[in-house]
């Protein structure tokens, strides 16, 4: 179980659980059809967000994708402002303009989220370039899927980051699918980390459903970036439990084999780690129950508040097209 401090292990666990519950609340309310934004849930993939973001400071930059709720929460975003955004309300993190696919919180280093596959990868490198030019110690971490690694812009980004030794960590969440298309229909082999060698940078793969493995492997990459030694490509294998978009499972529609999903659910990052923590005595069932209830209460309250929050005025449509110079 690695040499990771018990307190840290617990933090990692609570974060995973928090993300899981955040997403499950969406599943609960989505059928009411009043959360009008396409939600791409990360249930099953929580360990990566938790394990990587545990190494980041508030000032560090984070870039995510259409499947970004977990990363935003792990970086510290307020769930209320996310829910409010998904409900299209003024108090949402983008004042209702962005929705689920485009969360932003510049104060936390999340300057904006793109739903164009691969679109955020170069912007993350740009943030790292800014750190480099300003001689800051800020690290830039970018999450993206296996599908995104097929986009040319991924390579263009790796090349420039490696060339300039920029402080960026490339984190590929390989869940073996892009919408319903399996990795084997899209790439000649499943090992995305192997592209690192082409750029002379470290590349490694680890079990993305094991939060301690994620935490341990990300530590070196973030440290390397912070020390000015350049980028690293991390690949974490994982699996999404829900369909590509929305709260339903796509196995019913024949998109993915049910047996495949079930095998991965056996390896649930949250339940598996909870079992270990209970066995190791790092947490008791009662502590777990209490914390879960606390989280649920908070998330339920946030969700209810978000749903009750005011909509933007229609004329807000025309605001924010251009930045107004002050």
């Amino acid at each position: 179980m690695y040499a990771i401090a018990p307190a840290t292990q617990l933090e990692l666990f609570w974060m995973m659980l928090f993300i899981r519950r955040f997403e499950e609340k969406i599943c609960e309310v989505y059928g009411a059809q009043d959360m009008k934004t396409p939600v791409h849930l990360c249930i099953g993939q929580e360990a990566i967000a938790a394990g990587v973001c545990a190494h980041l400071d508030r000032a560090d930059h984070l870039t995510t994708t259409h499947r970004g709720h977990g990363h935003c929460l792990a970086k510290g975003m307020d769930p209320y402002r996310l829910y409010a955004e998904f409900y299209g309300r003024t108090e949402g993190c983008c004042h209702g303009k962005g929705g689920s696919m485009h969360p932003a919180d510049p104060e936390l280093g999340i300057s904006g989220t793109s739903a164009i596959v691969g679109g955020g990868i170069p912007t993350a490198v740009g943030a790292a370039l800014a750190s480099f030019l300003r001689r800051e110690k800020r690290v830039s971490v970018v999450f993206f899927g296996d599908g995104a690694s097929e986009e040319g812009v991924f390579h263009e980004s790796l090349n420039f980051a490696a060339l300039k030794k920029l402080p960026v960590v490339f984190v590929c969440e390989n869940n073996f699918y892009a919408t319903g298309s399996p990795l084997s229909s899209r790439q000649p082999h499943p090992e995305i980390w192997r592209h690192a060698a082409g750029y002379g940078i470290p590349g490694l793969a680890a079990d993305g459903n094991d939060v301690l493995a994620v935490y341990a492997s990300a530590a070196g990459a973030v440290a390397r970036a912070r020390a000015g030694e350049g980028p690293t490509l991390l690949e974490y294998t994982t699996y999404r439990w829900k369909g590509h978009v929305g709260p339903d499972c796509d196995c019913a529609r024949g998109v993915r084999p049910l047996a495949e999903l079930e095998a991965w659910q056996e390896r649930c990052p949250v339940a598996g780690f909870l079992k270990k923590l209970l066995e190791a005595g790092l947490v008791t069932q009662a502590q777990y129950d209490a914390r879960l209830a606390e989280m649920d209460a908070r998330l339920d309250a946030d969700l209810a508040k978000a749903k009750a929050a005011p909509y933007p005025e229609p004329h807000a449509l025309h605001a924010d097209v251009y930045h107004q110079r002050s």
């Binding site: 396409p38 303009k97 485009h102 319903g180 298309s181 229609p314 025309h318 097209v321």
Partner: protein, 347 residues
């Protein structure tokens, strides 16, 4: 004529067609049938795109084709829009007839280099020695908070490019006939659909037929004002016309169907008769296809007959917002067209 007629209400359309012994199909079915028949009748045709072998792929518009024609005719693609477009272009340059499919039009900016700098120019750069029989299907999305990157109408980009043809079918009949014509055309054709047209029903013959590229059509004859509408806006224009008829305003609705080449003659002839013009597009007006339509009229003799300034109806001049409240304010519908018509009539 069932070939050009739009009946807004689905069940009315169905009973009308059945009465006349005519075959009804949805826009989505029409697309699917066109592709099936093209795959059947021409070995050079193949489909390429992301997620094509998914059950219910591309909103149903290729349903069953992967199973029926196999993975040498219906190819799933990696996520690499520019490269895959280049690959389709390359196959077309040596005589294949690929249909490249995008679920959203918003992904096309990624392949502008291969479309604008390559596909559009090969025939010219080679002095006519290498043509590019490529069709690129893409779909304009709308609603449910699709937001800024999943709802754009970018046909205005392509309509400016010599060497491209740009098609926006609005009816099931045209969806099938224009797609068949596009694949056989021998040039790169941007074939632009609208997600909200997929369930609409109309007359669709079973056999293969073509609707010629570059010919607009009068969807409704009228005396008082011309409304030129594109894609989904054609249906909104018909609805507006029906309302306005009750107010004594007789609207002519023209559907250009292709915006490059644009059937400027048909439009100008109509404006010369009515003296008034409203243009309705599935995009923000500034600089887009509605600008070109306006310009064609303004540089023709028809401009002399204009009794009032023309008006454009389109998306707001903003990126698409997510919030349902803002989305509602962003999109125009038949009421906006009707308002524009009334304003024009009074001006």
């Amino acid at each position: 004529m069932p070939w050009t007629k739009i009946i807004l209400d689905k069940s009315a359309a169905l009973s009308k067609l059945t009465e006349g012994g005519l075959r009804a199909a949805t826009y989505c079915e029409a697309l699917c049938e066109a592709q099936a028949q093209l795959l059947e009748t021409d070995d050079a045709v193949f489909l390429l795109g992301e997620g094509l072998d998914e059950p219910g792929g591309v909103f149903g518009s290729i349903a069953g084709l992967s199973e029926r024609f196999g993975n040498r005719r219906v190819l799933d693609s990696p996520l690499a829009e520019n490269g895959m477009t280049g690959i389709a272009v390359g196959a077309a340059m040596v005589g294949m007839r690929p249909i490249f499919i995008h679920m959203r039009m918003d992904f096309l900016p990624m392949c502008m280099d291969q479309i604008v700098n390559h596909a559009a120019k090969w025939n010219y750069m080679t002095g006519g020695r290498t043509n590019v029989p490529l069709v690129i299907r893409s779909i304009i999305g709308r609603g449910w908070g699709s937001a800024a990157q999943h709802s754009q109408g970018l046909h205005g980009f392509f309509a400016q490019v010599p060497g491209l043809k740009v098609v926006l079918p609005s009816t099931p009949y045209d969806a099938k006939g224009l797609l068949i014509a596009a694949v056989r055309d021998g040039n790169p054709v941007m074939f632009i659909e609208h997600r909200w047209l997929y369930a609409n029903t109309g007359f669709v013959p079973a056999e293969m037929y073509e609707v010629p590229l570059g010919q607009g059509v009068v969807r409704r004859k009228g005396r008082d004002i011309t409304v030129v509408a594109l894609s989904h806006m054609v249906w909104a224009a018909i609805r507006a016309a029906e309302i306005l008829a009750t107010e004594g305003i007789d609207v002519e609705v023209i559907d250009p169907r292709t915006v490059r080449p644009l059937d400027a003659g048909l439009i100008c002839e109509s404006v010369a008769r009515t003296g008034r013009l409203v243009i309705a597009d599935v995009a923000s007006p500034s600089g887009g296809c509605s600008a070109e339509i306006a310009a064609c009229v303004a540089e023709s003799e028809a401009v002399r007959t204009l009794k009032a300034p023309l008006r454009r109806v389109g998306f707001a001049e903003t990126p698409t917002p997510c919030s349902p409240v803002l989305e509602a304010a962003f999109y125009p519908d038949h009421t906006h067209i009707a308002d524009a018509v009334r304003a024009c009539m009074q001006a």
